[in-house]
Amino acid sequence: MELTGAQAVLECLKKEGVHTIFGYPGGAILPFYDALYHEKEIKHILVRHEQGAAHAADGFARATGQVGVCVATSGPGATNLVTGIATAYMDSIPIVAITGQAATAFLGRDSFQEADITGITIPITKHNYLIKKAEDLPRIFKEAFHIARTGRPGPVLIDIPKDVQINKLNFKYPEKVNIPSYKPNYEGHPKQISAAAKAIQSSKRPLIYAGGGVIASGASKELTEFAIKCNIPVTTTLLGKGCFPETHELSLGMLGMHGTVYANYSIQECDLLIAIGARFDDRVTGHIEKFAPKAKHIHIDIDPAEIGKNVKIDIPIVGDVKTVLCQLIEKAATKDDHRPWLEQIVEWKKKYPLSYKNDNGIKPEFVVEQIYEATKGEAIITTEVGQNQMWAAMFYKYTKPRTFISSGGLGTMGYGFPAAIGAQVGCPDKIVFDIAGDGSILMNIQEMVTAVANKLPVKIAVLNNSYLGMVRQWQELIYGKRYSQVSLETNPDLVKVAEAFGAAGITVTKPEEVRAAIEQSLTIKDRPTLIDFRVAKEENVYPFVPPGQALNEMLID
């Protein structure tokens, strides 16, 4: 079949099962958009800034488990994707970014809208390609999708010069991928599995520390089965939220800087820590030398480079989390000789529950709890970054994977709203809530057009405290209350902004109006709704482990 490069790109996407892409046209990607003009099977969502396209593709990927695809033109279009690609890279999210590029004859001459995007994105992609010949297109797309979704997932960028999009090729999509230097290991070494099973058997205070890798691997069911079989409590990272039901008695919620007291105490006291698809990030460990000081470490991860990167591991198991957990479930015996440990944890839970004082106006924690109740815990929650993110993580109970979507590694403000758009496009029957702050929502507010134009009923709950809240909190607690450049009093009326875009807007100033506003937003199904919750201004996120401290050295209130 003879096709132009641009037509071939569309065929490749279809072969990979892609039915939705997010993008923004421009000069060097014109041939692709021309081919798209006649396309029936692939839906293109027109964003209003390329960063929105990358985050939407990422949100789509996190909500559905499929590869997200975004498209941009060369130069500034491509560089606008960079933050979104870096966000996906840090959280191991499979996206494929397609960029137009100046024609091959113009490359390296500082041509109009030329940017070396493959050079720029080397450190933030799993791999990237600059296609020099149209006939390489099918192989490269096949490889790109394979690399993005297998092993430890991640973003892949494909840069396509304009002439490559125009040139003809004889299209044949390869059936198989052949990359001799890329062969991820899926199965855990049997010896290591046995060693782990033995360690579990002899431990008195075991603890599971589960991360985003559990969700990436689709192993929530196996994790739950394993934890219940061996009766081991589970704490998760921010990205691990939903991989184990937080309503279960073995759940300890999140650990780390804003972890629950009982999760952090458990880390410091456990004698066996089983890290599963997690990477000992500094926001999780606090002072690294003082992290889990009494524990033997088992680490299950598909990326060998994660093992021993930050913490010394006693029993490493390189492999796919799901496969390894299946092996482990088979090998490990049921366990019931650690009652005192479980009782100790119950005591901590009773003594130090997650809490807040529900006084003085609308408390942001209260808003999140109300969203949880109104949506019966069934919504997909996306977050921005900062206090809103932590409250969304702490006061909504996640019971299913792919329902909590947040930029953990890079910590990208402005992520949550376009990610919510991607999630809503991928899961049209779900309620999608972006829990936002008044700082971050303005960072990609232009995507309100995208949501309105596509009739997406995304809800945006702005926890509006007229501050850049988390920075203010650090300034209060660590910088002697010197509030430098964190007041957002001059922000516009967000409801008017929403209405100007054609979205619905609700202002909430009293606690008793909170629930009604949420319920009202749930009835609006043909456009986005922004709820401007005017919350208590100087509320802090607690517990808080100040940077450089051990996990048990936390401020509780």
Partner: protein
Amino acid sequence: MKHTISIIVENKPGVLARVAGLFARRGFNIESLAVGTTEVESVSRMTVVASGDDSVLEQITKQLYKLIDVIKVFDIPGEQAIERELALIKVACTKENRPEIMQIVDIFRGRIIDVSEGAVTIEMTGDEAKVEGIEKLLKKFGIKELVRTGKIALQRGVNE
């Protein structure tokens, strides 16, 4: 501690940038780097000398393996390595001291490959100690220019 790391990579454009960038990004210091083709046409071999303790070496190796174009990475321990580098050294010389320079070159089994009115250029092949040794002895004559290739290395014996 110094390590000599061999990196077998796909012979594709941009691979050097990926490898060099990784070293810089992760804070691994490169002391020397030599790149060239191998017995297999589609494959290149990079020889990197880098310093760090064993855990640094382990992390470098694992991170390199994550690059899609990297096929194999191995550390060549000092006692098993056959190492060579090449230096070209241009030394100022006069009629009077030329014999002394030639004598030094002879002792080191180097070669003089260019002679002009005020200078000779010497080709010196050997391990690091040898190249540095001749450089030290030639210093007093005035070294005008010096260039080194960076170390290349193979493991002794037949590889399994």
